[in-house]
Symmetry: C2
Subunit: 448 residues, 2 copies
């Protein structure tokens, strides 16, 4: 019979153990950080009514979404982000939630876009939001979590450098546009400014000029120029936006919070940060790795005042951000900061006699109880072959049961002869060890 | 503007925080168990070529699978289990894997089947397999993991009882059918016997009689009757299957391993266990909760000798099992053994003054560093209201900063006045506590 060629779809990936362990390590650290702030997880279906996911519809989304008819003829689609399902979730479960609601959602999304240039059609998003509190404290908590999850004791700890979070305030930007008399074109102007990092000032000036005329375009370009410090930039923005305003007050309070937590060095006020998306109404922010700024923002977000408007008449305001997991992993790898391991088990038990399989498991249970993951080899092959296999699978030690001439280890009943511990990389054996001593050796060396 | 009604598709579910936390707690415990045996995770795409997922095609699968044309006109489908993608994965990555390969995969699958009677169209599977070792040791490791992950120190610990794993051997069953001269109908007979628990002996006898005639049907029914003990059943099976055989040897060795690990009480040899699926060739097994056997098997599997045959000419043998997560959660809930909690954070910091948001975060950082997840409330509401909210969100304690008349806590700089710790359920306050004492109180009470 002809075999079917085993292959995955373009833009999709298998994760072999080393890559999957790396991804899980990262997700587990992100989750631990989110949980430490009192955030709780939710999940939503991968498949939803297309009407719900597309909302007002149109544009890029419609072209990229995986959409089809299900068995009942329903018009359904795979989620393409976690924001739209969250908006639907909020509208549907409003009565069951206690505000302020702090949730995170880490899950896969699908976009059938052009899979060239290393873009994936299936990737993991990692969103966190605070709903129902329009306060500087809520804005700041998201900013602080972005910083601390990545830098500080977070994912980048250990030589991969810090992060710089660039923030801006949409309200302040819009006041400036009103003062200039070009507030009516706000959405188009913000989207144009958003391209600054990619296309450069010259191109942005040209595009702005088409929208506002050359004189106003130069005013906008001057407005988005960062000054020497957070404070100076804020002063310049306030001046250009016609004086004090709620947005300026919000930024001042955020600056105070940064100082009160000793985190002010991580934050830059940058009026050129606008975010492309329409729903943001307050602060907006992007996060750059200090050692690798050129890869772009690894965590972005902002404040919105009506997330669930498509599905509910109740206004739900909030602030949130999203970590780009795939980009972050690529960055950690190129910084040499990714932990590469192919196994969770530092220890393997060799198989000498087929009929002793039960005794090997009883022995392994002792290590597992001591929180040392332990693999048991099932095949009685040559020991040299088993050493090689164990090393290849990522183990650092191998226990060889019943080979040394001595008496059985007192705490490993049934096995004839003592236990030998082999350090696989050093090719060193220590014979006749009790189980407890093996545990101590492994724990000591692992904690170094 | 009219709003779109927020709703999910029939058979699909949102997971609100209490349900999602419960699901994650369970998955995390299962994963920790798998990892302790040296198993490593993989992941595969949700979407694959329909040709690959359907293989030879036909039958129930074809009716249930979500299948459609993607943007490039490819015939694609959502995975309906984790076994078929794993077979494809093995064939595709054979050269990159070290055998024996021990992997687990916990992920969602989709089946557009009739969603009546509480069946879901999106659910989580939890598979674990050992590939490339046709040994009793590999069979036994899967059996032991099933038992220990669920019972022992596992998921059922704390009064939810133990598990009974019923096993059988397909090879032995087939030898018996050969002896009876009805080996040619093996697949149909095994599928019929598989219905015993559901339909009862009378119905099975009737269906068997249609396949084999009434006399042979009675022989089959006698063969699948368990005797008084593992050993007696095995003797009867060997006798009926024409004497000793590799399958009988395998079962004897497995029994020895059970005794050597002191786990024999958890295992029953039951020749009526056949599993419906065609690819099993050796041991097969099902797992029942002792306190809730009527819900059916919560973990099933077996040995196969050519899993990836559709995609590769190389034979890959293995043994594996799958935990039915949704069924297990339902069981834990009805046994009252599910941990119900709506938050990871036992502690919340109250908000008294909007402008102190940074100081509250600096204070919360102290608790987080001591491994106490801590939520910070962003809105300066009435304290009684904040107590109520904190309790509703699942916190047990609330820190009220700067209310008691005393001096600021020495380790909480900036906050004017001492810290008060409120036990929310007891409605008790303790005033003027240093941060470290609050940490001690929470840690002591949590470990009780």
């Amino acid at each position: 019979m002809a075999v079917i060629e085993p292959r995955v779809l373009k833009g999709f990936r298998d994760f072999l153990p080393p890559a999957e362990i790396e991804r899980r390590d990262l997700i587990e650290r992100i989750e631990a950080s989110f949980r430490s702030y009192g955030f709780v997880p939710i999940d939503t279906p991968a498949l939803e009514y297309a009407e719900i996911l597309l909302g007002k519809g149109g544009g890029e989304t419609e072209k990229q979404i995986y959409r089809f008819k299900d068995h009942g003829g329903r018009d359904v689609a795979l989620r393409f982000d976690l924001t739209v399902p969250f908006a639907r979730f909020l509208a549907e479960h409003r009565g069951e939630l206690t505000l302020p609601f702090k949730r995170y959602h880490i899950a896969k999304v699908w976009r059938g876009e052009n899979a060239q240039r290393g873009r994936y059609r299936e990737f993991t998003q990692c969103d966190f939001d605070i709903i129902g509190s329009d306060t500087a404290a809520a804005d700041f908590e998201i900013l602080l979590m972005m910083r601390n999850t990545l830098a500080g004791a977070g994912i980048l700890a250990g030589g991969a450098g810090g992060v710089t979070i660039k923030l801006n305030h949409r309200g302040l930007f819009n006041r400036f546009l009103e003062v200039q008399g070009i507030g009516g074109r706000s959405a188009a102007i913000l989207r144009t400014v958003d391209k600054l990092a990619k296309t450069g000032a010259g191109e942005v000036l040209k595009l702005l000029a088409e929208l506002t005329g050359p004189e106003k375009a130069r005013e906008v370009l001057d407005f988005i120029r960062p000054r020497n410090s957070f404070e100076e930039t804020l002063e310049a923005m306030i001046g250009a936006a016609g004086g004090e305003s709620p947005g300026a007050e919000r930024l001042k309070l955020l600056r105070r919070f940064m100082k009160d937590t000793g985190t002010e060095a991580s934050f830059v006020l940058d009026p050129s940060i606008t975010r492309g998306l329409d729903y943001y109404t307050g602060v907006v922010f992007e996060t750059f790795l200090d050692k690798l700024p050129e890869i772009g923002s690894v965590c972005s977000g902002g404040r919105y005042d009506d997330l669930a408007g498509l599905y509910s008449r109740e206004k739900l305001s909030g602030v949130g951000a999203s970590i780009g997991l795939d980009r972050l992993i690529a960055a950690l790898e190129s910084l040499g900061a990714a932990e590469a391991r192919s196994s969770y088990a530092p220890l393997a038990v060799a198989c000498l006699r087929e009929e002793d399989g039960g005794l090997y498991q009883a022995l392994a249970a002792r290590f597992r109880m001591a929180d040392i993951p332990c693999e048991v080899f099932p095949d009685p092959r040559k020991l040299t072959q088993q050493f090689m296999l164990a090393e290849k699978k990522g183990a650092r030690w191998m226990v060889i049961p019943g080979t040394s001439g001595g008496a059985a280890a007192p705490d490993a009943p049934g096995i004839e002869g003592g236990l030998t511990l082999r350090n696989l990389s050093r090719r060193e054996n220590r014979e006749n060890l009790p189980v407890q001593e093996i545990i101590n050796i492994i724990k000591n060396e692992s904690s170094r």
